[in-house]
Symmetry: C2
Amino acid sequence: MVSKNQIKRITGLHQKKFRNEQQLFIAEGIKVIQELYNSSFEIQEFYSTDSSLQLNNKVKPDIISETDLKKISCLKTPNTCLAVFKIAPSKPIKYEGLTLVLDDIRDPGNLGTIIRLCDWFGIEQLICSEETADLYNPKVIQATMGSIARVNVVYTSLERFLKNTKQPIYGAFMDGDVVYETELPTTAVLVMGNEANGVTATVEALIQKKISIPRFGKLQKTESLNVATATAILLSEFRKNLSGK
Amino acid sequence: MVSKNQIKRITGLHQKKFRNEQQLFIAEGIKVIQELYNSSFEIQEFYSTDSSLQLNNKVKPDIISETDLKKISCLKTPNTCLAVFKIAPSKPIKYEGLTLVLDDIRDPGNLGTIIRLCDWFGIEQLICSEETADLYNPKVIQATMGSIARVNVVYTSLERFLKNTKQPIYGAFMDGDVVYETELPTTAVLVMGNEANGVTATVEALIQKKISIPRFGKLQKTESLNVATATAILLSEFRKNLSGK
């Protein structure tokens, strides 16, 4: 059972404002919930229409009706379960290894895909501008598939971060040097810009090396690669030198 | 003005069955419509809430109300315009160059992203299994951003295509050879498998060389890369040898 008040409170978590106020977020689907539960996230509430569901044979859900699940869900076609977790504080910034920086990535799906990529490529730190999509947006949580637990995501001023780091700063630009012909270090910062406008001018001024993925189409009409696919290619280029080592 | 019958007919095009019957599809937003109009697609109907819109200073829209646009739109938040285009027949299959093959990619967003990637990397032919998401699904049309006009997409039996080609056949597998250490030819076929189940067994039997993108995460927990981001990395690896030539 969920009361009207609970429904109101959980629905509030669909919005960033209330997530920040309550320091709580929503996850849906047993796979994502189980992954978050097994990692560092503290579960607060666990609802399901299916009484046979359990987390680690231990945590049983509060059984709710399909109608109520639909009310609290963010999905058009709700799963069988929804959980509320505590937001975990970000860990302190480290100035080492390979760090990815996002300059105003607005699409939650792109952010989610990029977090999965960081996890795959062993990038433990993702620095986001304050305008980047919210990590705890339900669409991001669904897209990350639990990898959110393994990447430290920090929202901060990119100018401050880039001024403080001693690592070489690379950025993705349409007119940068061809990445395939560029020597890439294993320790660096890589900046990816906004979907429509690219890297902002103040951030661009702090970038030491511009790189790009060349276009091979004859007609040269494709405007740009999607930011998540461009990130995939560039992270692969940075990481390949470690392959087999 | 749109009549009730027109609304019914256009709404029908949200479904594959009616698109196939009528050989028509929907595009929304002036950018996508303009790109399709400028390429090989024949426009049938053009509706807008904005009387100032025109295609190449020539084609004016039928003005409709926001309420009617909402009825015929596939988007939650409709744009200001919607057009109906004729489906263009696929061109005959060529057995040359680099061809991408999709084995049951179900997500329209993934298919759209992959078509944009083909366009970027100058891959003119995309072979899809019959079970792959429909090219003319409105979500695919929105995600391709017009690059659909520059890639020949053919739905056919993958077994037949792979048996007919004389090009070397590569496939993406979790346990394949590390792509970074593999010599890749400039002319080849690359097969990408379904989001959840990978490449089907009958197709796998026809693959000559399995390749994979190694995982760098310490914990090795990320289950897999999203198929669109994996495609991005592999196409980049195939194409880079052409860079600067």
